[in-house]
């Protein structure tokens, strides 16, 4: 929400109005950098069209101050208004491009944002950190269409190399490629497969395999807390 | 499409099963079953016989051209002969592979052999590991025995030490208790105490000088004395300074004597 005073002097107009004036060819439309990012007064967007923007505008917008003020450097899904009843299979925009509901998902409601493999920054916000997998749809608060777009554009980004990821390590058996090579290949190596307990067998720090802390959530008390809290209600 | 056939076959299976089990079902139902048209389940679309369009549709195959027929005749014969001979070739190839040891059975045997090898190798490795583990455990147990023995010795020593110390204490206590007051020497002790009473009525300062505050004897033996002053007039302060001077004087003389005779 742009509250500080330096926004006032910018030209504030309704984004969809901008859409209609595009129809009239005579008025030259300045690119958003000079014209200033569209500021959306409209609270309730039901039934309105979502304006179309290009990828270059989106890239410029994501670097702009307006974006920083709006989202303060946090990933977009942190600003989702969780008080609305959010099912995971809702659609913000119908097939004609109009909004279905007022509380749109973080990507649909912001007119410049849409998932695209040429803008990895936006996709990376929705990835579980340290992995190349998207987070859960309920956690991301995205509608079904945008979640599908996220997965599709993530795959495209991987294929086009804008989002690097860990390719598995290919263990070559030289005897298969060179006839004269005789000695055995070493133990096959696996990416992220080096375990600390193999490298540093410290008797004091015991990593009992049968009790390894995989899958249990001993340090995520809030998960258990929610369960009881809900039961209590 | 598939589901229709599945339903038909399921019907066949159930019908045959029910035929076997319930011999005495009503004749109408059997008859119906005989016709193969079973009543569909509640709410399901009825099972219809194949449509007339499908039933009475006649496929008119166009006549082949005579030269085609002639050519296809000899091609078909050549082809069929080739196929039969090929089957023969394949059979021979399979037998040959089986003979050489590349066939399925030989592969199975090879797998079994390999399995046995692996199991035996595994057992061997387990035995080795067990032996190594036994040796390690035995060494460890020996070591723990040693440590336990040491600990026992230490505790014994400690206990002996403690016993000796406590014996000494007891001895000291016994010696000390020699002149305790007991039932039998009670009277003598009391009389002795009466003779030389020990007076604790004194003050002491940091230096260890004692400042007795004797009660006037006359007063104790029953004849009241003349009140020379009020009890509280006496203040230890005045006495203290006097005796302190005396004591220091005595000490300086004794220290000189000591220094002299050293």
């Amino acid at each position: 929400m742009l509250t500080n005073s330096n926004v006032a002097f910018r030209r504030l107009f309704h984004s969809s109005v901008r859409l209609s004036c595009e129809g009239k060819k005579n008025k030259e439309v300045k690119p958003p950098e000079e014209a200033g990012w569209a500021f959306n007064h409209v609270e309730k967007k039901m039934g309105m069209y979502k304006p179309k923007h290009t990828i270059t505008e989106q890239l410029a917008y994501m670097k702009s101050k307006a974006y920083d003020d709006a989202y303060k450097g946090l990933p977009i899904y942190r600003w989702v208004n969780r008080s609305y009843s959010r099912r995971h299979d809702f659609f913000c925009i119908d097939k004609h491009g109009r909004f279905n509901l007022n509380h749109a998902c973080p990507v649909c409601r912001d007119e410049y944002l849409f998932f695209d493999y040429r803008n990895p920054a936006l996709i990376e916000q929705f990835l579980a950190d340290g992995t190349d997998q998207p987070i859960d749809i309920l956690k991301s608060g995205l509608c079904r269409e945008q979640y599908a777009q996220l997965k599709a554009q993530l795959l495209r980004a991987k294929e086009h190399g804008t989002i690097p990821f860990a390719v598995d390590f290919r263990n070559f058996d030289y005897r298969q490629w060179y006839k004269q090579w005789t000695d055995e290949p070493g133990k096959p190596v696996e990416r992220a497969g080096v375990r600390l307990q193999d490298i540093h067998p410290d008797p004091l720090v015991s990593f009992p395999t049968f009790k390894n802390d995989k899958g249990n959530d001993w340090d995520e008390w809030w998960l258990r807390h929610d369960k009881f809290a809900r039961k209590a209600k | 499409m598939l589901s229709a056939y599945q339903r038909l076959n399921v019907a066949a299976a159930t019908s045959s099963a029910s035929l076997l089990t319930s011999a005495c079902t009503s004749s109408a139902q059997q008859q119906q079953r005989g016709l193969g048209r079973r009543m569909p389940k509640q709410g399901k679309p009825p099972i219809l016989p194949p449509a007339k369009k499908v039933l009475y549709h006649v496929v008119h195959v166009p006549w082949q051209k005579p030269e085609d027929v002639k050519e296809l005749l000899w091609r078909r014969h050549v082809y069929n002969n080739a196929v039969t001979s090929l089957r023969e070739v394949f059979r021979a190839e399979l037998q040959q592979n089986a003979a050489i040891g590349k066939g399925i059975e030989s592969m199975k045997e090879a797998e079994e052999k390999e399995l046995e090898e692996l199991i035996s190798e595994n057992e061997r490795r387990n035995k080795e590991k067990a032996a190594a583990r036994a040796a390690r455990e035995e060494a460890a147990s020996r070591e723990t025995k040693l440590t336990m023995l040491n600990e026992i010795e230490e505790t014994l020593l400690k206990q002996k030490e403690a016993k000796r110390k406590s014996e000494q204490e007891v001895q000291a206590a016994i010696e000390r208790s020699a002149h305790f007051v007991t039932k039998d020497n009670l009277e003598t002790k009391v009389l002795a105490a009466l003779e030389n009473p020990v007076v604790y009525d004194f003050a002491i300062d940091k230096m260890g000088n004692k400042f007795p505050n004797p009660m006037p004897v006359k007063y104790q033996e029953g004849t009241p004395t003349r009140q020379k002053g009020r009890l509280y007039d006496e203040t230890l302060g005045s006495k203290i300074t006097a005796t302190v001077i005396e004591n220091t004087a005595e000490k300086s003389e004794s220290s000189e004597t000591e220094r002299a005779n050293v």
């Binding site: 409601r109 294929e159 070559f172 298969q176 540093h200 990593f207 | -």
Partner: protein, 406 residues
């Protein structure tokens, strides 16, 4: 109709090229047929290549990468010697991660014609590709046969062969058609972002080592690294071996020599020259057995002073012992980490932007208050009275600011 005519003709061309390996680009003086694979497996060369690949655990071999599953990080307190032992174990593990990608001659593009049936002409509009999926056929010796619409039955080209393998035997991150990262606009973008290792890793996972496309792609990347001189993107990775082998084979090692010289590693320079000597025995530089590294490098410089302008850092190091700035970039990285430890706020910049208040310091007057006690209040006071009508950003009532677009 017969799209295949050129290919058959080219098969003759590649015969000639057979003698001349694909790895040797420039037909240098000794353009005799060089058996690249034989050379690569030679123990001497393998030892030299492993020595040349340095092991950089933190930034390269075990750097933070995106995995498919989130992993918990494990911490362990260690004594100094225990840490040394662990690092040694990690180094040994890293050596296995730095296994070289096999250097292979590309498979021939020629196809063998199995049978010709002219009267099968136009039996169908499209080709038929037959793949044998017998269970004991490995990726390499699987038979893939193509029937052309003109009735010609031929064996498949390497590209088709691999595509069929990828279709019928799927592996993760191995789609059927090559990803567009391996074509140029995107390849150049990735290389500009210094993701050479990622591209090469994916290429060696996606293609077979003797696939012509893979060899051509890796050569392209090697040339660009050599042209751009950013060797640090590929050092201490599994592709550094083939990269150095490729350079030594084509005799353009001066840039790499310059890089090693700049960072003062004479041993690597000597190893590089020995490698080129082993690969090109008829090379003019003579290397005696017991030579010291220093001597070898000096001889090299003496004999090839045509590269003198390229070897400025090496020469600088030899004569004046100057370590090049490239090392600075690594030092700046270390310095940066070092700086973070010292206190950044001091008397001078406490009021400015680097101070505790950061960019807030422009909006508010910052007064440094010595004692905690009474005066603390007026600092708050000053902050408030300066902007009475608008509450500071921190005192915003609702935890979630109204979004720009709502």
């Amino acid at each position: 109709m017969l799209k295949f005519k050129p290919l058959l003709k080219s098969s003759l061309g590649s015969e000639l090229r057979r003698g001349h390996s694909a790895w040797v680009k420039t037909n240098t003086s000794s353009s005799s047929s060089v058996d690249v694979e034989q050379l690569f497996i030679d123990d001497e060369v393998q030892k030299l290549l492993t020595n040349l690949t340095e092991i950089d655990l933190e930034n390269k071999v075990f750097r933070a990468r995106r995995t498919t599953i989130q992993q918990r990080s494990h911490f362990a307190l260690m004594t100094e010697e225990r840490l040394e032992k662990t690092m040694e174990r990690m180094r040994e593990e890293a050596r296995r991660f730095l296994q070289f990608v096999p250097v292979k001659e590309p498979r021939t593009q020629t196809v063998k014609v199995l049978s010709q049936d002219p009267d099968l002409e136009t039996f169908d509009t499209s080709k038929f590709v037959f793949t044998d999926i017998t269970f004991d056929a490995t990726d390499q010796d699987r038979t893939v046969v193509v029937r052309e619409p003109n009735g010609l039955l031929r064996t498949s080209t390497p590209e088709e062969h691999d595509r069929m393998n990828r279709t019928y035997y799927q592996k993760p991150n191995r789609p059927v058609f090559p990803p567009s990262l391996f074509q140029d606009p995107f390849l150049q973008d990735a290389l500009d972002r210094n993701e050479h290792e990622f591209v090469l890793d994916w290429a060696c996972w996606f293609y077979e080592p003797d696939d012509p496309a893979f060899i051509e792609l890796s050569h392209k990347i090697f040339d660009r690294i050599n042209a751009r001189r950013n060797f640090e993107t590929i050092t201490s990775t599994r592709h550094f071996g083939p990269f150095v082998f490729y350079l030594a084979l084509n005799e353009n090692i001066p840039p790499l020599l310059n890089h090693f010289g700049g960072t003062g590693r004479i041993k690597e320079c000597a190893n590089l020259i020995r490698l080129q000597k082993t690969l090109r025995p008829d090379w003019r530089v003579t290397i005696a057995k017991g030579d010291s590294d220093e001597k070898i490098v000096k001889d090299y410089l003496k004999q090839n002073n045509r590269f003198r302008d390229e070897l400025t850092d090496l020469v600088a190091f030899l004569e004046r012992g100057v370590i090049k700035s490239k090392l600075q970039s690594r030092e700046t990285r270390t310095v940066a980490t070092g700086a973070r430890k010292q206190a950044t706020v001091n008397a001078r910049n406490v009021r400015g932007a680097e101070g505790p208040l950061g960019n807030l310091s422009e909006e508010y007057a910052v007064k440094v208050v010595k004692s905690e006690g009474s005066e603390g209040g007026d600092f708050e006071q000053r902050k408030l009275d300066k902007t009475p009508q608008r509450r500071g950003r921190w005192q915003r009532s609702s935890s979630k600011p109204r979004n720009k677009n709502e």
